[in-house]
Assembly symmetry: C2
Homo-oligomer: 183 residues x 2
């Protein structure tokens, strides 16, 4: 038997996207968002309402997308519930430091080890942000043999059904391969 819940925003799971931007004074800002994803082979989509971040994206034509980790859950949640409009020192309070991207006019958050560096393509017909991924950078601390190692990244997801952050566990299969066992 199934239980019906009506219309709920329950794509499962959702990423914890950490959106980095610069404001008109070059001051870095960071917010989080769970509504978004890969939009094409080299593009991302973000569904954001009006924020300091959306002002900044329009101004600079650029943003970064990093991913919350188990070690940074508290500051990553903090920057999502406190606006730079109310707390100008939110980055310092969160303990985040930044380095300018080599590729776009947006900040890399030093404490978040995997980052998509994006150029704004447009706000699309539904008002969502579409960005081209110009470069992906990863801190050496999460690499094994030169590749990103999920067990070192230690990303978390957002569970929309309970509003919890959940860490990833172990690998259970190989995409594009395991299904061949049924052929």
């Amino acid at each position: 038997m199934r239980k019906n819940f009506g219309s709920k925003p329950w794509v499962y799971p959702q990423p914890v996207l950490m959106i980095g931007t610069y404001d008109e004074n070059g001051k870095p800002n960071l917010m989080n968002a769970a509504w978004g994803g890969q939009y094409g082979g080299n593009t991302v989509m973000l569904c954001l309402s009006s924020h300091k971040t959306t002002d900044n994206i329009r101004l600079k034509g650029a943003f970064t997308v990093s991913f919350a980790t188990a070690a940074t859950v508290i500051p990553c949640d903090y920057v999502g519930i406190v606006s730079a409009r109310q707390e100008p020192n939110k980055m310092e309070k969160a303990g985040f430091t930044t380095t300018q991207s080599e590729f776009v006019d947006a900040p890399i958050i030093n404490e978040l080890p995997l980052t998509l560096e994006c150029r704004l393509v447009k706000f699309n017909e539904d008002g969502n942000v579409i960005g081209e991924i110009v470069n992906v950078s990863a801190d050496e601390s999460i690499l094994t043999g030169g590749n990103v190692d999920h067990s070192k990244l230690n990303a978390v997801i957002f569970d929309p059904t309970s509003a919890a952050y959940i860490r990833l566990g172990e690998k259970v299969g190989n995409a594009f391969k395991d299904g061949a066992k049924l052929k």
Copy 2:
């Protein structure tokens, strides 16, 4: 130090979206997709290239989105690598059975316990599928106290950096709450 990887489709992590549709003869089909996400408060976005599934979505104006689980990794991967155009009996080979949604003209996959039942809104300006979530249904086997319990759902994610399926682990925080500790 950071390593640059160039432009990579590495939104992290990605959901394993299982897209259910009916064809012109009412035959159910299922494919998987990692590129997509919550697009608005009651809408989802799917980035699909041309598939039997996209033909079916256009035809019926409806689809379901379920989520791969640790117990179903092999058949969920299988339906992603084998097309209904080549293997008409892919659903049977995968071991999936279906029940028609009460709300839209699309199949619920009985073996996948959480499902968004969607009405096609449009193919948007970039060719992506936008669907309205009309209802979410969950099998009673994944409920605790009437709510979806992530530890029973046992969803997996797609790691784009290694093409692995990874299960979720334990809860590490509370969204919209933990950040208040820094206020």
